[in-house]
Amino acid sequence: MRLFAKIFLCAVLVISAAVLFSGYLLITLSHENAALRETDRALTQYQYDKFSVQAGLISNTESLPEGEPPDDTILSGFSSDLNGQAAFFSEDKTLLYSNLPEPADFSLLDGVSDSTIVHQIQKIGDRSYLMVCGKLTQSGISLYLLIATDISTVVAQKELMIQSFEKVYFITLGLSLVLILILSALLTRPINRLAKAAARIAGGNYDERLSVSSGDEIGVLSENFNLMADAIEDKINELSANARQKEDFVASFAHELKTPLTSVIGYADMLYQKTLRPEQVRDAAWYILNEGLRLEALSLKLMDLIVLNRQDFMLEEMPSDELFQNIAGGLKPLFEEKRVSLHMKVYPAYVKVEYDLFKTLMLNLIDNGIKAGCGEIHITGKPNGSRYLVSVSDNGRGIPSSELDRITEAFYMVDKSRSRKQHGAGLGLALASKIAEIHGSSLEFRSSEGVGTVVKINLICGRSGDGE
């Protein structure tokens, strides 16, 4: 059942019960009060009428036979002085005179005694009468006097009240229900919008959002729904990017495997099928060795990447000067071979690093600079608050600014042909970026084509170095 129908049903139940119960109480109490009031009035009137009859009997004492009840004519005269319609009965309850409408029921006489007056409501024809009956004794004559008062107005009043209440009930209910329908439609509209938006999101429309126009619970729900949709959209985008990255990774990996393998297979086939001169055999073997080395480097770096993604590393505090001296010492043969001069200016501090990984990071950054054809590499390190800023700059050919965003992607190479010639696989900066992440930082590149590249990394300072 729809929510508005539930609200409607509940409202009908509550309003009907409340109005009907109130109406029932109102009408029955009013009717009871009216009947009680009429009964009181009739009993009072009976007393006046009884006095009137008694006075009449006293006035007629001389004309009445001793102990005999008055005749019809006298009783008719008595009844004409009374306010209501009356009936007179002798002491043995024989009807003497009556001007009551027919057929009146005189059974209430049975309950009457010298000290008891009986009253009863009777419906005669289409009218209701309140009968009051009692016994009177005057001047030696005993009579039963029954006075009937027409109380049809009380019954009519009740009927009128019921009719009025019927109108009030249905009009009130009708108006209330129209109001409730409008209210429930207004209340459920944002919920319906929410349901439709959820359905559209489920259908793949992740940029679906709700407009939040109120601060009530539904407004809060809409706001939370939008936050949830934002989170879902972000997650979906992230997952899509990851999936795309993985696809690119696999495609690049396959391509990077294919290129050296094509050379290896080609030269091996040539060696197998043709008789070559010793120089040609040597050249072919060199190519095969060269491509094999590339494949080995590729597999090692891939292994490193996988390890970095899976393993947790513990950072250890080290003095920065000692760290960089060790790294520079290990790279000295490379600098000499490549005829690159290294300038290092490192301020002492304690930094938190994983030594082997950090060395790999520095090696990759320096290797990148060398591959960019630089003649000088500057390494600087200085504390910066709780951080230690390391900067590696070269004067190589630089990186186009349009490529800067992608250079840390695996297998991404700015100049693929040159990179392959230098046994590059496009994994060095991806590795470096991952290592920087492990060190609680990221790589920040600033490069100008033809001028050089500066790479910055913010290491975490150790506690031992706080005082330095």
């Binding site: 059942m1 729809r2 508005f4 129908a5 539930k6 409607f8 049903l9 009908v12 139940l13 009907s16 019960a17 009907l20 109406g23 029932y24 009408i27 029955t28 009717h31 009871e32 009947a35 009964t39 009181d40 009993l43 009072t44 007393q47 006046y48 006095f51 009137s52 008694q54 006075a55 006293i58 006035s59 002085d81 209430l108 309950g111 010298d114 000290s115 008891t116 007056i117 009986v118 009253h119 009863q120 409501i121 419906k123 209701s128 009692g134 004794t137 005057q138 001047s139 019954v155 009740k158 019921i162 019927e166 009930y169 249905f170 209910l173 229900l177």
Partner: protein, 255 residues
């Protein structure tokens, strides 16, 4: 799923209308039943049986029965009750109070007295119809309180063609505390007041005021007043075509 949802919704709305109409039918049926029960009920009330001999009468003795008398202070107290309460309630005489025959007799005696004193003409001693009822003043909401015999009064009306005498008689003492006459040949207020105060044995009073239509005497340091007021209206009644009205009564308030 949607069809089922719509079906339930339609059923819910239909149920709402059934509840609305059914509730009404049930309520009106209950009201009718309650009304039928109420209108078919028989009730009864207990009333005082009038005492057979409410006062110490002696049928063999010709002397009038001894009636208790009230002091002026007691009279003031009774009058304050009569004047303070608007509603009256008829009731049967209780012990110590006059019964109807005695009240009518007291009324007749009073009429004779006022005739003898020249207050009313002889025509007012002859009447066609007599009515009498005994009431007490009872404040609203105190209907179930027992009757105090001091505070009840008989209202006796003697009426005939173009004449009427209405007497309010204290149900305990049998004295006329208020008398209203209409008809021709009624005396002036001064004479009427003299007869009225003499009837009640009130004496001369501490002050006396008269201006022709109202005569008044005060007693008990201004706590009790005897007042007579008259006026005339032009009618076809009487020798001079004037009908007179006279009202004599006791009061705690000056006019």
């Amino acid at each position: 799923m949607v069809n089922k949802q719509n079906l339930y919704t339609a059923m819910g709305i239909a149920l709402s209308f059934i509840i609305a109409v059914g509730g009404w039918v049930l309520t009106s049926t209950l009201i009718d039943r309650k009304s039928d029960t109420l209108l078919s009920a028989t009730g009864s009330i207990q009333v005082n049986t009038p005492p057979v001999s409410p006062i110490d009468t002696n049928d063999d003795d010709e002397t009038p029965p001894h009636r208790p008398t009230l002091s002026e202070t007691e009279m003031v107290k009774v009058l304050q009750n009569w004047e303070a309460v608007i509603g009256e309630r008829p009731h049967e005489p209780v012990d110590g109070q006059l019964n109807m025959e005695q009240a009518i007799d007291a009324g007749k005696t009073g009429l004779s007295y006022f005739y003898e004193q020249g207050v009313i003409p002889a025509e007012l001693l002859e009447y066609d119809k007599t009515n009498a009822y005994l009431c007490e003043k009872q404040p609203r909401g105190q209907e179930n309180q027992s009757t105090n015999p001091y505070y009840s009064y008989w209202t006796i009306t003697f009426s005939g063609e173009n004449k009427r005498a209405t007497l309010v008689i204290n149900a305990l003492t049998g004295q006329i505390w208020e008398a209203a006459f209409s008809g021709a040949g009624i005396a002036e207020t001064e004479k009427a007041l003299e007869a009225f105060t003499s009837y009640l044995d009130l004496g001369d009073g501490s002050s006396y005021i008269t201006d022709g239509t109202i005569s008044m005497k005060s007693y008990s340091d201004g706590m009790l007043y005897a007042i007579a007021r008259s006026y005339t209206a032009t009618t076809t009644v009487g020798e001079d075509g004037l009908e007179g009205f006279l009202r004599m009564h006791l009061s705690t308030q000056a006019q």
